[in-house]
Symmetry: C2
Subunit: 756 residues, 2 copies
């Protein structure tokens, strides 16, 4: 099959720039859009300060053997003129199914510019090919839509259905974000498969030097792509006090975006764009593409097994690319920009979706004291060849009837809604890292897990069991079994599933954050919704606010969670960074609540959690999630039952939230009003340096008195030396009062305020 070459000719393009300027509702943010010698660019200021310097926008398309059949190959990079501009205002308040506040205001100024790309394209396809005929110039249209909020902007590319653009393959998206200086950044290595790394805090200029050290190469799947590649959401702070955050919203059936930094050492486009021998070659010439200035981030999408970034069919659009900005760090945390850029809820009846507090048969396996698997008798497992009733148990299997009942009793007694049970289903003997496709069937329990009895027992006590589906990243296998698996859940009364994607993706060559995997995660969410099942997805792609559209996506992992406290430990400031980064896209199932922080006191594990007990309680506020785990063992909570009272009491759905203090990596203090009540809860969490907190209670109802219980670090508390030293104080307070609290190194506090 011969390929048709699409020739571009420059004609009628005005060399002077056209500029549009759009202001946010309060005027603080100003967005400027230009078409500069045919190239779309934008820039952005906040209160007159540069946030994004002029930055290029565009997409590079792949060549494909099906070009002659209508697959477009011509890049969407240049030869554009403005055809139409539309500026509109939008102001609406909506109510999430669950969330940090009852109402969310979606208030923006929108600028949608229709760009016309002028090309000479031969007629499709036969005449031109055989007769060398050329026709009149043809055009293609692309819309870039900007939404300008008071706390940031979002923009996306839209591709209307049109004769000259029906299908295309994305080689790379080249959206630039040119920073105005060498900002401080809290970043993770850009990686196609994992973000379970410790956050690095460096200047932009120091990213390249830090990269190697920043990667935990022992992780189950590491696919770092560049010495200056970082993931989003990327939190930065400029020397003149601006907090800037780059992320994306509504990533649906599109590859997850990373950012690749152009720095002083970036030598050539080839190391920067497209990568390796597939680097961007301007088409045809002269190149209108020039190497961006240092401190410019360029988008880098996650590839499929063949190295391409996306298969597109018009009409379609990219996710929103977002830049949040403020001179107050608290605005980074209270912003709803990502949620607002997602589509409204698509699930009609949401009555079955509910916030959930849970415990689980989990931590003792993470720590290594018991096992997910049932037997040690086989070097490997073929699911269809084993009679599980006859195999010899290893005596360490955690998900057994007795233990699960113990957890159900504990949950019932303490008002926890559900009990997660991992390792209930056959296949754990050789589940990971062996490229094994048929690893689980998701319906067959181990012999010591009586699924019917346990669910009936749980329900009789008002508790549900939380389902666990580890896929081992064998996604084809999960999709083959998903309908039976969810039917089983419906049969036994499960209404939530924790999914897992440990290890490399099967089919081989695919990545956790590719277009196809993002489509898979969405497929799972939609199938679950059909069965009235809530989803908590671990090791999946980082979230981009899809929980607005599909609120049965109640949680996720996609970052280094509490489990790493058993794998060597998280830095004390870790949870003071996550709300600025990972949590921008949606809640995290961080699984807080470790009271026995020194694991060696009850296991062979020498790791320890870098947090005080009071700090652990704070996480139920500072790490917002409608799904909150009490992750430690029942016996550990029973030892510190007075502190556990806070976990019993704390809500996990809210009418209001007030971020009182915040600084990335240092401290976060937030007050939240429990859904449908006048009760408030306050949490404060700090890094290894400790923190002094002064809290004005002026958000309380003026006419009311509150029974206040304060769970604070004791004076000598310390995340390493004295983590279990806490003081519980009770008093009565009112709106005019002020509380002064001292957070220990790696500590924090938690406060409940119950109306009298």
């Amino acid at each position: 099959m011969r390929r048709i070459n699409f020739f571009l000719t420059l004609f009628l393009l005005p060399l002077t720039a056209l500029a549009a300027e759009v202001k946010s509702p309060n005027g603080n943010i100003v967005l400027t859009f230009n078409v500069d010698e045919g190239v779309p660019t934008y820039s952005m200021t906040y209160k007159g300060k540069e946030v994004i310097r002029p930055s290029r926008l565009g997409l590079e398309l792949a060549k494909d053997k099906h070009a002659s059949k209508g697959m477009s190959e011509t890049d969407l990079m240049d030869h554009f003129v403005i055809k139409e501009e539309n500026t509109t205002s939008f102001d609406e308040t909506w109510q999430p199914v669950w969330g940090e506040t009852r109402d969310i205001r979606n208030h923006y100024q929108e600028y949608a510019v229709t760009l016309e790309q002028r090309l000479d394209i031969p007629h499709y396809p036969k005449e031109a090919e055989t007769k060398g005929m050329w026709v009149e110039p043809q055009t293609r249209e692309m819309i870039i839509r900007f939404r300008v909020y008071d706390d940031g902007i979002g923009f996306r590319y839209e591709f209307p259905q049109q004769k000259e653009l029906n299908y295309f393959l994305i080689k790379e998206e080249h959206s630039e974000f040119a920073m105005a200086g060498d900002h401080m950044a809290w970043w993770l290595p850009g990686d196609y498969d994992t973000q379970e790394q410790m956050t690095q805090q460096t200047r932009l200029s120091e990213i390249r030097g830090r990269m190697k050290k920043a990667v935990n190469w022992g992780n189950s799947s590491v696919a770092v792509f560049s010495p200056t590649g970082v993931q989003t959401s990327l939190q930065m702070k400029s020397d003149d006090g601006l907090y800037i955050n780059i992320h994306e919203a509504a990533c649906l059936d599109y590859a997850t975006m990373h950012l690749e930094l152009v720095d002083a050492e970036t030598k050539a486009l080839t190391t920067q764009l497209g990568g390796g021998s597939n680097a961007y070659t301007p088409n045809p010439k002269p190149s209108s593409y020039q190497l961006p200035k240092p401190f410019t981030f360029v988008s880098h999408l996650t590839p499929d097994a063949t190295g391409l970034k996306g298969c597109m069919q018009t009409p379609c659009n990219t996710p929103w690319r977002t830049v949040m900005v403020s001179d107050d760090a608290r605005d980074m945390l209270s912003s709803n920009l990502i949620l607002n850029l997602n589509e409204p809820c698509k699930i009609e009846d949401t009555s079955w979706i509910h916030p959930t507090k849970y415990c689980g048969v989990w931590w003792e396996m993470i720590v290594g004291k018991s096992s997910w698997h049932y037997t040690n008798d086989f070097p490997s497992i073929h699911l269809d060849q084993i009679d599980w009733q006859r195999v010899k148990p290893n005596g360490r299997h955690a998900a057994n009837n007795e233990k699960v009942k113990r957890y159900i009793d504990f949950a019932a007694k303490n008002g926890l809604d559900q009990v997660l049970v991992e390792g209930w289903n056959v296949g754990w003997e050789d589940w990971a890292n062996m490229w094994k496709r048929d690893v689980f069937d998701f319906v067959t329990p181990y012999p010591d897990f009586d699924i019917k009895m346990l669910n009936e027992y749980a329900h009789s006590k008002g508790v549900k069991i939380l389902m666990h589906h580890e896929t081992s990243s064998s996604t084809q296998n999960y999709e083959r079994h998903i309908k039976e698996a969810y039917a089983l859940m419906n049969k036994y009364g499960y209404d939530a599933v924790k999914t897992g994607y440990v290890g490399d993706i099967i089919p081989r060559g695919d990545h956790h954050y590719s277009q196809s995997m993002n489509n898979h995660y969405l497929y799972v969410i939609k199938e679950a919704a059909k069965h009235h099942i809530m989803v908590n997805s671990h090791e999946a792609t980082r979230p981009t606010g899809l929980c607005r559209t599909y609120p049965n996506l109640v949680g996720g992992e996609s970052a280094r969670g509490t489990e790493y406290e058993a794998f060597g430990g998280n830095n004390p400031d870790h949870t003071c960074i996550l709300p600025f980064t990972r949590l921008q896209g949606g809640p995290m199932d961080y699984t807080p609540g470790i009271f026995e922080t020194k694991l060696s006191t009850w296991s062979d594990n020498t790791s320890w959690a870098r947090i005080t007990i009071a700090g652990s309680l704070a996480l139920y506020l500072t790490m917002y999630s409608p799904l909150q785990m009490a992750a430690d063992l029942p016996e550990h909570y029973e030892k510190y039952d007075d502190a556990f009272q806070f976990i019993r009491d704390v809500a996990c759905d809210w009418d209001d939230s007030r971020y009182l203090e915040a600084e990335p990596g240092d401290y976060i203090t937030v007050a939240r009003k429990a859904k449908g009540t006048d009760n408030w809860f306050i949490g404060g969490k700090c890094d290894e340096n400790g923190h002094q907190s002064t809290i004005k209670l002026d958000f309380l109802d003026k006419g009311k008195k509150y029974n206040c219980t304060i769970y604070a670090d004791a004076k000598d508390a310390h995340y390493e030396k004295n983590p279990k030293a806490y003081v519980i104080t009770k008093k009565v307070v009112k709106a005019s009062d002020t509380l002064r609290l001292t957070e220990a190194p790696g500590g924090g506090f938690a406060i409940s305020l119950i109306t009298q």
Copy 2:
């Protein structure tokens, strides 16, 4: 993660060869097995003539990042000694659910040799890595199992479950087939995605020179991998009159095998093995691997998207590699070696599986007179965004109520069991070549196809509609919809589906013949069986006898079918080759029966079928299949109703079959006894040179007389100049009679023999 190097040391290996010799039941075939300086080799003779010269056996394993966790990396190529040998006899007769004969004899001599590979392997994994410890030599076992039949051999590799071999990735299988001379061969280009090419007839030494010309590069997916790569089943003929055929049996969850020829121009292993920079590097040294002699075929498996050939978990085995041989070409056609090497039927209740004669709304679309798609209104289709009731029909949609009823009437009148209807379901507007994942939903009919009414109408006349599921090779999409699609079939009473895999595989990078795709086809067959659905799979991998184990796999394409008569034409000898090659693995849905061979007489298509009407009738015998189509339009059959009588009469399931004459590419004559009757049908088909056939009827029941109807080419018949000239003769015959028939160029004959 660090990788452990597995070091091999040579010790205790006897340098002299050990030899085992195994004879077939009648002694004609002698297999010899050796371990030569640690390398397993085999050879084979037929009546004392060399068939396979000493040829190496072994597999090369891939390096993997999970090696330290138990993924084996050490090649299974050398350092072997014989540990155990078992020789056994087997003789059994079994009855297929459908087939060419009522009884099939499975009679072989088996030789299973357990090979021990002696290695130094560090203990798993931590101590050795950290302390540099080395342990005593460890061993691995591999079994090579040979079955020696009177008409050929099969061998396979078996990998028992064992401590040092639990999981491995196959980089390449290096099974050699050293030919004894520069044989004549009937071959197709080795290709990962298609075998819809014209067969080439050349000497082995001429393959390289012919390759470029042999490939139809315009095919929808071409992935040729080598200038000397050919596919199996490969039919050859030696200068001393031996017919030799290489193929495989029972390819289950393993990549389809091709053959790569080492010829005089093969310069180095790098072009031969593994390909490119991933070529086989002996581990560690010295290499025991040497370039085979010219005229040696080496196995070449189909890769996955990352270039690897297989993910294996012990216990497991490869498919059987087969070499059939005889000095009588007819034995190539009557052999049951491939079926015998497959597992017995795994479907307990087979009562719902039945031979089927069908017509269909198909040929007029293939020819281009009408369309699969319903509308021309959209540049592309998003299935969830179109209200099909409101779109404008293009007026050319074939699968409409009126036309389908016409075909149902025709089927009912002529005793055809089913009516295939293609293009009944939404999505055909842009179904191919655009990397479109969500291309069909398999449950939504076009507005002019009333699925309920049409099925009821068909059933009222004793006819079924045959379902069509074109997947467009978007396998993930098909698997997502398969359960609903089959439930719909059950609801409306369909019991057979024609599946299609046109175009490149989605997920991108995979191939039609890879391990994962072979697993997909099997998944479809098993899911269909659960729903009591028969499968006829087009553009799937070439069959390897799986229809014994899963007899609901009633047909397949996997070769150039009748449709190519409308795409430029098949050579007249095409159907005299297919029974020697494609049909070795199972029946083909060749869709014979074109009476109006000049398509321009009723359409704009200038192609024409290179066959006479009498030749077309012969195909119902010579191209054995339990699924036989009458592919032409009803009105064409009505014009030649006296010839069509044979299609009405002919059976498609048999108690006995006798190949009376055969020569690859020249002619085939076969007599078959209809299931459960004493009626016989005879078909003879020849190439462009015509053929004289003398048929002794001594297979008829000696005591009976038969009404004999002969459908023969007229004297001046010719596949191009006079294809519709046929003569129908009726007479009464008995077992002692002899018939003499003249087949015209590109012609043939068909005979029915009905007991009086």
